[in-house]
Amino acid sequence: MNRAKGKNAGFILPITLGLISLVGLWGTILIEQMHRQSDQLAKSWQEKFIFYKAQEHLGQCLGIVGLQELPTQRWGQCCHVEAMTNPTSTKTSTKSSKLALQKSYRVSVHHELIHPISNQILGSSRLQAVVTLSPTNQAISKLSWREIFDLHWEQELNALQPKTNYIWGQLPACKHPLPTN
């Protein structure tokens, strides 16, 4: 009887433990997958959040262009406005004189989303717009807008355009803590 008892215990115990381990493993894999997907969604949401913040701020910065006589460079908080020099042309055609009257500004913004506790940067957005004002009423006559993704490439491109300065190393970012709710 004692031998039978030992046999049963020796059979049931490993089977039960094996089952528990299998269920545990299955659960761990599922939880891991769920975490990965939720991280991906969270990352996508964070990128969108900081992009919209930057876009909103770029709109506000563009609002000040044309309203007042701006200096050549105006450094605001995470917003940089530069008056672009107009082309100098030796020809005195009507087109070039009209071009000389037009004022162009380059407006750049830099925003970062940070972790509220660790201050780790979760996402950043750099946007730049070049606006040309109408010579008659100072309204925006032309607007070109873009997003900056790669700073190394940006530096290379900037070097090719002698009229422009590379500002991303100097422009401080507006920091937004990640909303917790």
Binding site: M1, A4, K5, N8, I12, L19, V23, L30, Q33, M34, Q37, S38, Q40, L41, S44, E47, K48, M84, N86, P87, L99, S104, R106, V130, T132, K142, L143, S144, W145, R146, E147, I148, F149, D150, W153, E154, L157, Q161, K163, T164
Partner: protein, 215 residues
């Protein structure tokens, strides 16, 4: 342990195992459905983000470069966005479209969109740099359309992103599979994108245009 105890424990174990074997497939199915939904949402979200960013760059002109050289006046007019109803972009020639004859009579409706802009630090849909070599007449072209494979009844649609190679040739990259319908509505300063997946779920996004562009 006597025989009664042994039988009782075996019965209990059988009940527990039977419950588990019944519950596990149900749980697994629910989990799989949930996972498929989350995966689809994440993929569509990412693709809509790519489309949004491309559309928002439409009509970008390098004003600073354009001022210093008068090359802009020699170029053809920049048409920021072109929408082709019930069409697909071909790979034969830049910007050429063909109507999807086999799907016109069916329920599938797919449009195509072609986005043009000058380049300055831009990337294509899969993260490759758009250099001057990858332009046509000085303009980069990003197109989105759906390509179907298989029989008409159960064809699988793949959302393709079209761009140019270093030789200026057209190339397509698949960015989302399982697409049934892809509709684009172009209004004054808004582009509305509607995606219907094979799961019959619909995704809708309105994208405000950033640049002043000619349509």
């Amino acid at each position: 342990m006597n025989l009664v105890e042994l039988m009782l424990s075996i019965s209990l174990l059988t009940i527990v195992l039977a419950g588990l074997t019944h519950a596990v497939p149900v749980l697994q199915k629910n989990m799989d459905d949930g996972r498929a939904l989350r995966e689809e949402v994440a993929q569509v979200e990412q693709v809509l983000q790519i489309i949004t960013r491309s559309i928002q760059q439409a009509g970008f002109e390098d004003i600073i470069k354009g001022q210093s050289s008068n090359s802009r006046s020699q170029k053809p007019p920049l048409v920021g966005i072109q929408v082709f109803q019930q069409a697909t972009l071909t790979t034969d020639k830049v910007g050429k479209t063909s109507t999807q004859q086999s799907y016109l009579a069916g329920r599938r409706q797919t449009d195509a969109i072609l986005i043009q802009h000058e380049t300055y630090g831009h990337f294509d849909c899969v993260g490759r740099k758009i250099t001057d070599k990858r332009t046509h007449q000085g303009l980069s072209r990003i197109g989105f359309f759906v390509q179907f494979r298989g029989n008409k009844g159960n064809a699988i649609g793949t959302l393709m992103c079209q761009s140019l190679t270093n030789n200026g040739q057209v190339q397509n990259d698949g960015i989302l599979t399982g697409v049934n319908d892809f509709l684009i509505y172009l209004e004054d300063d808004v582009v509305i994108v509607e995606l219907t997946m094979q799961s019959s779920r619909q995704y809708h996004k309105s994208i405000a245009l950033q640049n002043q562009i000619s349509l």
